[in-house]
Amino acid sequence: MIDFLQINPGVWLILSGIICALIPNSFLTQLTRKCLVTGAPIFTAFMITQIFTSDIVVGGKISIAGIDLTTLRIDSLSMVWGYLFCLIGVLNGIFGLHEKCRITDSSALIYSGAAIAGVLSGDLLTLFLFWELTAISSVFLVWRGGEHAYAAGVRYLALHVLSGVILLIGAIIHANYNGGSYAFDHIGLQNLGGWLILLAIGIKCGFPFLHMWMQDAYPKASVTGTVILSAFTTKMAIYTLARGYVGTEILIYIGAVMTCFPVFFALVENDLRRVLSFSLNNQLGFMVCGIGIGTELAINGVVGQVFVHVIFKSLLFMSIGAVIYRVGTSKASELGGLFRSMPITALFCLIGAGSIAAFPLLAAFVTKAMIISSVIYEAHHNSALYVIAAMLLFASAGVMEHSGIKVPYFTFFSHDSGRRVKEAPWNMLVAMGLAASLCIFLAFPWGGYQMLYDLLPYEADYKPYTVDHVVFQLQLLFAAITAFCILKKSGLYPAEKRSEILDFDWFYRKCGLYIVKSINHTWNALDTRLSNATRNTYNTINKSLYGIFSPIGGFSKTAPSGLAAVMTAAMLILVLILVYFVR
């Protein structure tokens, strides 16, 4: 008898995805598919509630080739990610109800299932399996973006598969140092395996110089695809960091850099989905930094931030996705004034923008503050961390710029582009409405944020709604908006222009490609020359042999019998001498 409670709940979603992929296309099966897309995450969440009955539940133990695997582990940390991924799976399912695409539906289910199974896995090999499955299943969402997305999809797949391979190598080395145990607990940087696993996570998480896949692939995916993609991969990576690298000092600095550099790229970027991808990178920075700090307050802040971030970031991607669906572009230079024809989408986008900017009464206000406060508290003992705290405040002003102001302003307000389109389809509005409601509810001072705090892994006695916190946060935000108004009025705010903004991926998309092409060209030239030289040598040898042995060659000519006798005698003498010395 199969014990269903021993099966990793993510597997149910993966199975649903496989069923979606196999059933043929018809109206009835489309309906079935859509029921699966929205229903399977709910069933998965139900399974998690059935399994998670105590502080930690471990199950699904199997042994393969002498290696013990724990395919299921649910505790207070992984449980949050499990529920969150189920929740966002439902929202994504509703958002994509209009899309009659088998590939999107099945990829979305397998991808979200792999992400859930990954965070609920108890060992590094199971994690590796689902790590790679997220990469393989999600690339179809990128490719659904169309012809322009093909190359980006290939790059995305290559980097993510590479990340998985590095993870596997790291896991093997790490297990060697730990008596052959593949248990996925604290990893740290004590051995090469730990460093390699961190590198693998760094690729998925968008560490500086490893982040480019995000801004390359996400904006090119389909409307629904981008929303789905933004939720899982990076947050799965944050989970692995929170599980394996809590309190690792280097993460503080990596996270601080991650919060700051995307701000500048987002500023000059014209494609609003790419702006949101940079914004995603910037938000991940806050989480990475919090994991580096590693105190209970910081980890609570990270977990809370992950929870609300997935919701408001999806909301922002959904609103821009709805705009693309109706208008056909997400370029800021082509948009403006859309609140006239898409007022409900505009309202939801404003809620998402306010949430990410951490306005009081909106989502990130109750979580991001925990991370910044934890840095400031730690800085009382280590004054160098004040620099990090200042960087986080700088990045908060940056968030206000690119996501709080730029995205809603250039899309829905700014100058009137004259476009009059229909409001977003009902299913998109429902999904955005639910996400927006959650953004408000999870920051609600009377019973809202407390529910969020109840999910956190440590007891949270943090009070976000104190006068000083509200007032100082508002100071920062009002100052940023005032600066925007002044810069806009004075003409110093840059006009949006259609362009491709170079990022670090230039090194492999242009420079690397040039090097590969040069090597290829040199190799081809060398190959041609080698072939010619070989052919010439063969011809020469052939000619010589033909000249000697052919019917017209030297050996075929008649020779005087006296010469033959002399030659035979000479050969006999040579043989005699040889035999004499050899013996």
Binding site: G145, G146, E147, H148, Y150, A151, A152, V263, L267, V268, D271, R326, V327, G328, T329, S330, E334, G337, F339, R340, S341, M342, I344, A379, H380, L393, S396, A397, G398, M400, F413, G418, R419, R420, V421, E423, D468, V471, F472, L474, Q475, L476, F478, A479, A480, T482, A483, L487, K489, Y493, P494, K497, R498, S499, E500, I501, L502, D503, R509, K510
Partner: protein, 121 residues
């Protein structure tokens, strides 16, 4: 898709009332130039108010910069301005034509420079 634009054509204005969503009608004043010009006073007064309240209720766990009154406002204003003022040099350094990588097809060809160039050819 947008009802006003053909590939390669610049956006043309259409009847302002046509295609406006009923929910948006009470908020059309948001597009009024006077309202936009005067909007700055809302964050400005908010800023002054929060700085004044900040003097009465200082940070419970102050950072070194919190000795300056309105320090977070200053950080917000300076950071935001600095970020925006970096736009010009960054654009000069990093901006390239849309079809720079030439990967066959742009995200939204109807609105791309590539499309306009094709028509000119």
């Amino acid at each position: 898709m947008s009802s006003i634009r053909k590939p390669g054509q610049p956006g043309k204005a259409m009847d302002k009332q046509e295609g406006i969503h009923p929910f948006a009608i009470p908020f059309l004043w948001l597009g009024n130039k006077k309202v936009i010009d005067r909007f700055i006073w809302i964050p400005f007064f908010g800023l002054i108010l929060t700085i004044l309240i900040g003097l009465l209720y200082p940070q419970k766990h102050p950072a070194p910069w919190d000795v300056v009154p309105g320090s977070w406002a200053l950080i917000g204003f300076v950071s935001y301005s600095l970020i925006v003022l970096c736009a010009k040099p960054l654009t000069f350094l990093l901006a390239r034509p849309e079809n720079y990588y030439g990967e066959g097809g742009l995200l939204d060809p109807e609105f791309s420079v590539e499309n306009v160039e094709d028509e000119n050819d």
